[in-house]
């Protein structure tokens, strides 16, 4: 872009071709909202077409989805409950992504975080509930952090691709959980569904007052806000963004890229482990096979849709929670397979990724292109 004029050369109040400078700012900012929203609309339109092709009414479908996801206080609470683990699972993808890493094995950290938390809860039974719950949280954070931190360490110190290793480790984690839940940690009373011993009620995490949504939602939102502060407002976040842009440049600048990568991946895994702990302490009451409920994989989608911005993860996770929550109603009301939700997610995901190609190339959002046209 040799022919572009930097804004410093342009007159202070007037941009290119006499456009007010303020308009340029608005155009540049609008890009970050209009492109993803537009992609969302296009994806939904394509899904309407798909639904029409299989002989159902798209209008009825979206009406049902709205009713099942957000139409009533009951369905809103249902959506928020489903969003809670997605917030933390998405952070497990978004934080490493800022360093240029694609970590897709958050499921493993969720599962191990849940098992560690359950084991901690059983081991400490009898202690005051506050201490036990905090210890369970720490156990979940630590297990997930070690697991994904190891992925980061392998990446930096052994040059092993993080996408592949995190995925392998997710399968290993699930096998490890099955082994523990079937073996040393098994509650003999759990016959049909092997589980760890159930947590006493005082060690369970309850609902946010006035809602049928457990505290995990609040934890997830706080984690997203803290992650945003970490990335945007601290020097570690600044260093991470530099390393994510160009590792060589970061190393030349003297940044300790290794500890940065291990630290960010460990934190990311810690959040996913915390999601597992919350599933155990707030939903399941014990660790069992239900921990591998593919929140880790939906989290990948949430993070990419939010373009790895921790604050954007909050609305996206709630939207996805709503789509997820409406699956049952779609199945019952419209006689469609529940996999319809999966098809919709896949379509949205593809269109959103495809829309990445538009950034900086749509004339309306890029004042540099206005100038070039003149």
């Amino acid at each position: 872009m040799a022919d572009t004029v930097s804004s410093a050369d342009a007159p202070a109040l007037l941009g290119a071709k006499g456009y007010p400078a303020a308009l340029e700012g608005i155009a540049r900012r609008a890009e970050a909202f209009v492109i993803p929203l537009g992609a969302l609309v296009v994806g939904m339109a394509l899904f309407s077409l798909f639904i029409a092709l299989v002989g159902k009414s798209p209008v009825l479908l979206y009406e049902t989805m709205w009713r099942g996801g957000f139409g009533s206080w009951f369905s809103i609470q249902n959506s928020l409950s489903r969003a809670a683990p997605l917030l933390l699972a998405a952070l497990c993808v978004a934080l490493p992504a800022r360093l240029g890493l694609v970590v897709i094995g958050g499921e493993g950290a969720i599962v191990l975080g849940g098992v560690s938390a359950a084991a901690m809860g059983v081991a400490l039974s009898g202690a005051p509930s506050f201490i036990v719950i905090v210890a369970m949280g720490v156990a979940g954070l630590a297990a997930g952090g070690i697991w994904i931190g190891a992925v980061g360490a392998l990446r930096h110190y052994r040059a092993i691709n993080e996408t592949i290793s995190s995925l392998l480790m997710a399968y290993i984690a699930i096998a490890l959980m099955n082994q523990l839940v079937e073996g040393p940690l098994r509650d003999p009373a759990s016959l049909n569904k092997p589980s760890t011993q159930p947590l006493a009620n005082i060690y369970r995490i309850g609902n946010i007052p006035g809602m049928e949504v457990h505290w995990g939602l609040a934890v997830g939102v706080v984690a997203c806000v803290l992650s945003w502060v970490l990335i945007e407002k601290t020097r570690w976040g600044f260093a991470a963004r530099i390393a994510g842009g160009n590792v060589r440049a970061a190393q030349v600048q003297g940044l300790a890229v290794g500890p940065l990568i291990v630290g960010f991946t460990a934190l990311a895994g810690g959040f996913a482990g915390l999601a597992g702990m919350l599933e155990v302490a707030a939903v399941q009451g014990s660790a069992n096979g239900s921990l591998a409920a593919s929140y880790g994989y939906t989290g990948i989608f949430v993070a990419f849709l939010a373009r790895h911005n921790p604050l954007a993860i909050i609305p996206v996770a709630i939207l996805l929670g709503g789509i997820d929550a409406s699956g049952g109603l779609i199945q019952r009301r419209m006689d469609l397979p529940d996999a319809a939700v999966l098809v919709l997610q896949g379509m949205l995901f593809i269109v959103i990724l495809l829309s990445e190609t538009l950034y900086g190339r749509v004339k309306a959002f890029n004042p540099d292109l206005w100038r070039r046209a003149s």
Partner: protein
């Protein structure tokens, strides 16, 4: 599974049989992925292609009563998925790994959506050749019952190994995979070559899926794949992008996967679930042992995003 008749010999025999049975989908998916990756792209969506191929093959086999038509339909469906991936990835700034994850979701979603009515009916299976017929020991017969697709896969890996070295098409794929600039200088269009390579890779993954639903385990369920499509990506790296290596490591994977059930059959039940993870642990260990931060992987295509 009763191994008492032949005692502990049942274990290696069961592992051999398991290696042959379990490895076949790995062979096809990893050969497909090897072609795609040699051209410089990575397709993680093969997992979705595999599941969709399994469903298509089963559905077509149920409707036409011919497993071979099912196989063909699965390959065609896989080709479409592969071409779709190849087409999307030609746009600038589109991440091929992320598109793969999206296609994985989309392919599995479509397979479950259309596959619902086919969970109940029974489809005809692909034929197997009883190489163990000379023996009257049932375990030997079971282990040496080899499906034709395994033999086709073995032949295909030889052909591909030869073709990458000795044919014009093989050279074109390798050039495009090693340097887009060099390929353009030769008058080749990297996007077209990658489109075709990804398409062929998808078709092979579809065939791998057909094996799952039409031979082993031989039915269509939503849990038919245990991540074979994703494992194949690791397997290709493990095999250093060499088709013969893909075949050998697929066998190794199959054998490792058969270790748990084989040991269980002779009464070793400790650590059953950990044996289940043996292929994954094995891959990780070998990846750790063979990579180094100072040099790039031997044989890695230069344009491949995961090795840069």
């Amino acid at each position: 599974m009763d191994a008492t008749g032949i005692g502990l010999w049942g274990v290696p025999l069961a592992i051999l049989g398991g290696a042959i049975r379990v490895s076949t989908p790995f062979i096809f998916v990893s050969l497909g992925e090897a072609i795609t990756e040699r051209s410089g792209r990575i397709n993680l969506g093969l997992e979705g292609t595999l599941v969709f191929g399994a469903m298509t093959a089963y559905a077509v086999a149920v409707m036409t009563n011919s497993p071979w038509l099912g196989l063909l339909a699965a390959a065609a469906a896989g080709l479409c998925f592969g071409l779709f991936h190849g087409w999307i990835c030609k746009f600038p700034k589109v991440n091929d790994i992320a598109i793969g994850i999206a296609l994985m979701l989309f392919g599995s979603g479509l397979a479950f959506f259309f596959g619902k009515p086919f969970i109940k009916p029974k489809a005809p299976n692909l034929p197997a050749i009883p190489f163990g017929a000379w023996s009257d020991i049932p375990q030997v017969q079971a282990a040496l019952d080899v499906n034709v697709l395994f033999l086709i896969g073995a032949a295909l890996s030889l052909v591909l190994w030869w073709a990458f070295r000795n044919t014009r098409a093989g050279l074109i794929v390798r050039v495009v995979g090693d340097s887009s600039d060099a390929a353009r200088a030769m008058g080749l269009d990297p996007n077209t070559v990658r489109l075709i390579a990804t398409g062929v890779g998808g078709a092979l993954a579809g065939i791998g899926g057909a094996y799952l639903s039409l031979y082993y385990p031989g039915s269509w369920t939503e849990r038919i794949s245990s991540g074979q499509g994703l494992m194949a990506v690791a397997l290709v790296i493990f095999a250093r992008w060499n088709p013969l290596g893909c075949f050998a490591s697929a066998l190794l994977f199959g054998g490792a996967g058969a270790l748990g059930p084989a040991l269980q059959s002779v009464g070793v039940t400790q650590g059953y679930y950990l044996f289940y993870a043996a292929p994954y642990i094995l891959t990780l260990i070998i990846m750790i042992a063979t990579s180094s931060p100072t040099r790039s992987l031997a044989g890695a295509p230069g344009e491949l995003s995961i090795t840069k």
